[in-house]
């Protein structure tokens, strides 16, 4: 499976309106830069193969 390059603009345009967030034009370069950094971090995280039964760290105790 091949992935398209990460498209920060597409993510901003698809998601920000769902959150009722206005991202002003002059904020966009900074937001995009941070999203690109986050995408690189996500690639590092997602490449670690974890078993299905790995419990996420925060365990709720009622």
């Amino acid at each position: 499976m091949s992935y398209k390059p990460f498209d920060a603009d597409a993510l901003i345009e698809a998601t920000a309106p769902l959150l009722q967030l206005q991202i002003a034009q002059d904020y966009r370069p900074g937001v995009k830069q941070n999203l690109k950094t986050a995408a690189k971090m996500a690639a590092l995280v997602l490449q670690v193969k974890l078993p299905d039964d790995t419990e996420p760290a925060p365990v709720y105790r009622p």
């Binding site: 941070n34 590092l44 490449q47 790995t54 419990e55």
Partner: protein, 463 residues
Amino acid sequence: MTPSASALEIAESVRDGRVTARSVVEAALSRAHGHNQALDAFTDIVDDRARDRADVIDGLAHGGGDPGPLAGVPFAAKNLYDIAGLTTRAGSKINRGNRPAKADATLIRRLEAAGAILVGACNMDEYAYGFVGENAHDGPSRNPHDLDHMTGGSSAGPAAAVAAGIVPISLGSDTNGSIRVPASFCGLFGLKATYGRLSRAGTFPFVASLDHVGPLGRSARDLALVYDVMQGFDEADPAMTKRPNEPVASRLKHMIPGVRIAMADGYFAGDGVAREAVLHVAKALDVTRVVSIADAHAARAAAFLITMAEGATLHLDRLRNWPGSFDPDVRDRLLAGTLLPAAWVGQSQKLRRHFRENVLKLFDGLDAILVPSTPMTAPLIGQKTAMFGGVEMPLRPHIGIFTQPFSFIGLPVVSVPVWLKGETLPIGVQIIAPPWREDIALRIAHQLETAGIAKAPVAQAFA
């Protein structure tokens, strides 16, 4: 008492009646006011409250009562700690519109119940989201060892106040390294206890999964003293342990027989002064063993993503309503954090448990691990890039590369300050211990200070 007096010396002198708490507090207040223009360490100085409290302590000391183990010890707190009557600004402009806090944060109450005296609230990176200590609204805190250099953050003012000898102890918080980074840059001892050990109640949050609180000081002994009185269950913090208190101060001198310590290689090896500092400490402790910690890059990346996502969720309403009132750098990080795909964050929380298991396996045959606290000594204020492994990279996100993987899994860490020969600025080395074994990290730190390897003098210009 001189600016270099330790918390222990002050408390013993007040308890013995050799000095009054009032005189100690007057000197601390005078230094706080006198040095603040140069350092930008304090955003509030609570003169009246501190004087009233000092008089109560003196009344107890002279009336035959017990003024407590920290009698008359002045301290400061990062301005994300609630202080009754003050608005908790958490480094922000937006929160200044909030009502004043009705009560003190739990740790402030516990320190004062032991006789310590709050003198003020300290400057910090906005909403604790930064490693540089340069607040967009209140100005940058300045490193007392060289005012052109940053303190590091986000517990910037608390570090400046202690390194300048204004107070012997301060309270900070550490989500990704915000106690250990300024401890490294300002040449201090800093304790990030095990996640859940110290109560966060009454502090403005940042990332619930990763937030810790703790002290900075000029000796391991002082850290142990305040750590002991701050322990204890607090139902107001849902992350708190119900473990019994495990005091350390009385055990500080007792080294663990056959203690097993190793350095970490690969991701954590560091270069330049960071590497030299670890080797210097290792030599003093006769440590030659080296261990590898798997998946450290991914662990740091996961901490980065959890921070973005949880921080953004916390601030969503403020981002909608007052985006122009944030520090622009913080705002852009948080806005990006609102948009992260859920799978990135979900996998990061799974990776947290996986990485924890990796590291705990290492501790089966080991008591402590040594790694640098920061990749470099304090950069210049305003510096945007630095050399990492011979390549020029953005500075800010790299400052915490050695601290983030350990707060990620909540391990107890003491950062100890090292002054390498020929260097004009200090750098820290992290002593990382297994969960709930703050005693190991503090005992090794104390051994290093006794041997003169780790030391935290008051900055010369303020001594």
